[in-house]
Subunit: 417 residues, 2 copies
């Protein structure tokens, strides 16, 4: 197994000012290419911490990736520390300097001194181009090990990793054969799923690994195989057999497989049927619509949404009858169903989804939500009691609404695939 | 300085299946209580990795926190590894068992064997209660150092940290005096900001630290002070003086201070003026509304939104004239302004915000957005060219729209505070 260590550098990560999505992106991309991230060390913008952590990581890893600390300000000191570590001088890298000048000129800005110094790199490194930003990437060698330094800005980093770093990693260390499959399911506690899996786990091939991931969009189970590159055919067979067994064990619970998210899954279900969707949101406040639009090409099937946060918007825009609100309450089955029915008519869509509820405790009233789905044949609704905090409740209800839409599209309350 | 190490445990973090928001939450909460997280080590659910990492961390830290690996499934092996490490036996913890039975009964479920075993804990640890889940927290002592083990489920962890872990940390290690201030600003590159700060940085008190954080909602600059507890009065004075200087340097750029986010800031601006808001979204698809609703109490000032993703919804619901779309194009100043004007009328709000644009490249057309704001006095719009990927462009435009709303509320294009 190739040992890969990721070092993420930045006080802002440890201070809780920024979420470390880079580790997620890097872990996922490495995995798709057959590498496994063994550990991720997050340290501060501190010369001693950077020097010591990089040195130790190079001793115990084949590949070390660093991310962050390459910005132009004083607290970004990675480059100077690495130059010292490799007994190297900073020199001007002419192609980077030319790139920076052209980039700034295209935006009508002048290259200030701080930005110009981004073109200074240690003379022993190989520059890995950064077409999306000002900080160039760097590759260093120590013994058999490789060190890659990438910027911390997520979209700069991910493109550099894919186009500049991974090809150099593969040239030095072939990752062997690895593949994985995921089933995504709802409505089953992790411990119940593990008990269903008991016989499978006890009898599974030693090249297989299973992991459980409880999430707000349901439980994921991943089955993976890792073997030598020469054993590819055997590995594929082993994974495929395992995969059929796991799918069989959860046939009643699965809503999607592999990399498809819930918004992907509902998008595909709508597109394949030539249908369109509209959403009416109260407590979810736009979250369902935003998640649908996160998928490229959503305009093929998504008409739009109404966030009816104020009661007045429920009556004036969505035409929910005032007497229904007065008699049933605004958090009620009748209001949820009326919202779903009305929004599909108002926006001219085939399927309507709606939510109404309380995202957090209000006095003595516990958080809960009514979720409805409507199509030309009618509507249905379900009540969910909510046990999380405000943002998690909103996310949970949004996911649940998408799942109800998927079930309705499948014409049944049982599995959609 | 008290040395705090956080170990986050979970294959899913390294595989990129889940974003590590726990480190963000923990880093931020520790900081508010005067502690600094020195490093965060993310490792896999592997007995050897857990044992070795915890042992090394205890040698070089005053406080070690672990997070994750306490679930009931086979891949969660933290508890067994810690029992071995502390030469300890797993014993039944009666209060936890009673809690689990009551919890499951309240939800109409039976306690299965896997969940029951959550009440087994190493006999040398002190149990830290987990009122929100099944895995109890644990505190261990080694020499002068403390080890706290918390579950990985975010809302279980954060409540345990606040109510169970922090009081025990403070009893053992007082954090000294620490405080910080943040200015949040838009429209200034990090390098330009650093150049404005040059004199301040060269002359600042040695107890002060400055950091820069470029984000999609603008640039943040944090100024912090750390001194002994007995020097509180002096430290407060030093921070206050520094803070006034930094605010003065960026008076033309600041939109919010300290922990206030953009949705917080616009909420406060609306509430203090007794005004209400409505939003019409095209490319942002619900993101602006969802971010407004993320703030507790948003119903005081937020009427709702229309996501007019399909052109037909722009004309039918928002009454944007078809001839304007035909003559100007759907991504145009006229359409953005019409959307902002119409949505405030339709939803009965004082202020309207609107977006229309392309979140990613479409053939030869580069991503761009028109953003508009409208009130009773009229409307205005701005064109943004977008340089990021699809999700980042959506976030950037959403943030920009909120910023335009803030400026309009301030009655000027200059600073709002």
């Amino acid at each position: 197994m190739i040992r890969v260590t990721l070092i993420t550098i930045g006080d802002e990560l440890l201070k809780g000012r920024i979420v470390n999505t880079n580790t997620t992106q890097i872990g996922s991309l490495l995995r798709r290419h057959g590498y496994s991230l063994q550990r991720n060390l997050t340290i501060s913008d501190n010369r001693e911490a950077i020097g010591q952590t990089v040195t130790e990581a190079l001793e115990s890893s084949d590949i070390v990736l660093t991310c962050g600390g390459l910005g132009p300000t004083r607290d970004d000191i990675t480059k100077h520390t690495l130059a010292e570590l490799f007994h190297s001088q900073l020199v001007w890298h002419a192609p980077t300097l030319a790139f920076l000048e052209a980039r700034l000129a295209a935006r009508g800005r002048v290259l200030n001194d701080l930005t110009r110094r981004q073109a200074l790199v240690p003379d022993v490194c190989e520059v890995v181009p950064n077409p999306n930003g000002t900080a160039p990437g760097m590759m260093f060698r120590r013994g058999q090990s490789l060190l890659f330094c990438m910027p911390g800005v997520p979209f700069e980093m991910i493109h550099m990793l894919e186009d500049g770093v991974l090809p150099r990693m593969k040239a030095a260390f072939s990752p062997g054969y690895f593949d994985h499959r995921i089933v995504r399911m709802t409505d089953i506690p992790e411990s119940d799923a593990a008990m269903r899996m008991e016989t499978f786990e006890n009898e599974k091939h030693p090249a297989l690994a299973v992991s459980y991931l409880p999430r707000l969009d349901g439980l994921w189970i991943e089955v993976s195989v890792r073997m030598e590159e020469g054993q590819r055919a055997e590995a594929e067979q082993i994974l495929n057999d395992a995969w059929m067994q796991v799918r069989g064990l959860f046939a009643d619970k699965i809503y999607a497989i592999d990399e498809r998210s819930l918004p992907d899954a509902i998008g595909e279900a709508l597109r394949s049927r030539g249908l369109t969707l509209a959403v009416a949101e109260s407590l979810t406040g736009g979250k369902i619509a935003a998640s649908i639009v996160s998928v490229s090409g959503a305009s093929d099937y998504f008409k739009g949404s109404v966030t009816a946060y104020a009661v007045s918007v429920k009556t004036s825009v969505l035409h929910v009858p005032q007497e229904v609100i007065d008699s049933q309450g605004v958090v009620s089955e009748a209001v949820a169903r009326a919202m779903a029915e009305q929004v599909r008519i108002l926006l001219g869509a085939d399927l309507g989804l709606a939510t109404t509820g309380l995202a957090e405790k209000d006095g003595d009233v516990f958080p809960r939500a009514w979720i409805a789905v409507a199509d030309a044949a009618g509507s249905e609704a379900r009540l969910l009691n909510l046990h999380y905090d405000r943002p998690s409740n909103i996310e949970y209800v949004s996911n649940y609404a998408l799942r109800m839409g998927l079930e309705r599209l499948a014409g049944t309350s049982s599995p959609v695939i």
